[in-house]
Amino acid sequence: MKCTQIKNKLSDYLTGDINETARTDIQEHVTQCDACREELENLSAIWTKLGVLQEEQPSKELRSRFYETLEIYKNTQEQETVKDRMGSQMDSWFHRLVPQRPVVQFSFALLFLVVGLAAGLFIRGNWQRNAEIAQLRQEVGQIRQITAASLLGQETLKEQLGETGQNLQVAVPDRQTLLDFLGQTGSSSTVDTRLLALDILFPSSSETKQEYLKTLSEQSYPLTEIAKALASNIGRF
């Protein structure tokens, strides 16, 4: 056996991890090879010398620290076991609640879906209706406010016609009075005012009425048209 092969087996020889044949081969080789014998002797010497390193004992604190840690670990484990047990019980209850057959599971799922959809539609319909009613109420309120504001800002017919109009109702007016009245009411922006003036002027001369009717000619309001037609017809009579 060559030196390189022997050297490769020296660790086996030292550790005892070697069969008898290989051990004999090494022992025979070193009797003839000084270099290999010297190396084996040196290695064996230090290997044997390591035996003087005797086993030492750790301090007592190591043991107490370990048992303390073990106790804490056991307590933690017990707590986790209780939690796991509770969790598994919950799972078990849930498992019992849920039907096992897929057909029944599907039926339940479908039923819940339909009920959910119906509830959703019902809630949504109510909500929309309520919203519409609220909007209408708001609009009505706004109209009322506008009307009230309009009525507050509008002069009464009597006020618009003034004293002349009141006098015309109780006595036959002269021509100048009629012309004044015509000037006063003919330019009124309110159709109703002019219609009332026309009514007051009904007993007046045909010429006065025609003058006044001209002021109404620009109106497209339906009542004005009716009033013009009536005034014209009455004039013919």
Binding site: T15, L53, E55, P58, L62, F66, Y73, K74, Q77
Partner: protein
């Protein structure tokens, strides 16, 4: 004697894995001194070695569910021990240099008369061990003191058996040289 005390390490660890964590106490009593000495020869420091032993048993509890059985308890415990040591080295990397400061230096005072030649040898050997690189030291200690087969060490280190054989050879050779130097060139 409690039947549990007769159980093998493998059986006990399976019990621990399956929830009977109190059985870890038996494993502690069986192996904590062996682990302490492994770390003591590896680090040269008693306090650090005790911390590492504690760390190993905590890790055994933490990772108990990963224990596979298959009668490889010693391999498993030393894998955990190596990882604990590697993590320790990583943490301390920038704090102190192991070879310079970790080893409990011998007193510079003259040795007392009662200190035998054996004790001096032990001190020199510890100092010589500290001069070896960590991996060589590990392999040598596992082989010499833990009686692990070269094949098991290879499995533990994740390398080929031939590599472990070569490493043991070189480690013993280097240790001899360091010891010779520390002895002042005088072999005993």
């Amino acid at each position: 004697m409690n039947p549990v005390d007769k159980a093998t390490d493998n059986d006990l660890m399976i019990l621990v894995r399956d929830g009977r964590v109190e059985k870890m106490a038996v494993l502690f009593e069986r192996h904590h001194v062996m682990l302490f000495n492994f770390f003591l020869r590896l680090t040269g420091n008693r306090n650090i070695s005790e911390d590492l032993v504690q760390d190993v048993f905590v890790r055994m509890l933490k990772y108990r569910s990963t224990y596979q059985g298959q009668n490889k308890f010693m391999l498993w415990i030393f894998r955990i021990a190596r990882n604990a040591h590697i993590d320790f080295l990583r943490k301390k990397k920038n704090e102190v240099s192991m070879d310079e400061h970790w080893y409990e230096e011998p007193s510079s005072d003259p040795l007392p008369l009662e200190k035998t030649e054996k004790a001096q040898d032990a001190m020199r050997l510890n100092q010589a061990l500290a001069k070896l690189p960590v991996k060589k030291r590990e392999v040598l200690l596992l082989s010499r003191f833990q009686n692990m087969k070269q094949k098991e060490i290879a499995e533990l280190l994740g390398c080929r058996t031939e590599a472990v054989k070569a490493m043991i050879h070189r480690a013993v050779k280097d240790l001899g040289k360091a010891y010779f130097e520390l002895s002042g060139g005088v072999t005993s």
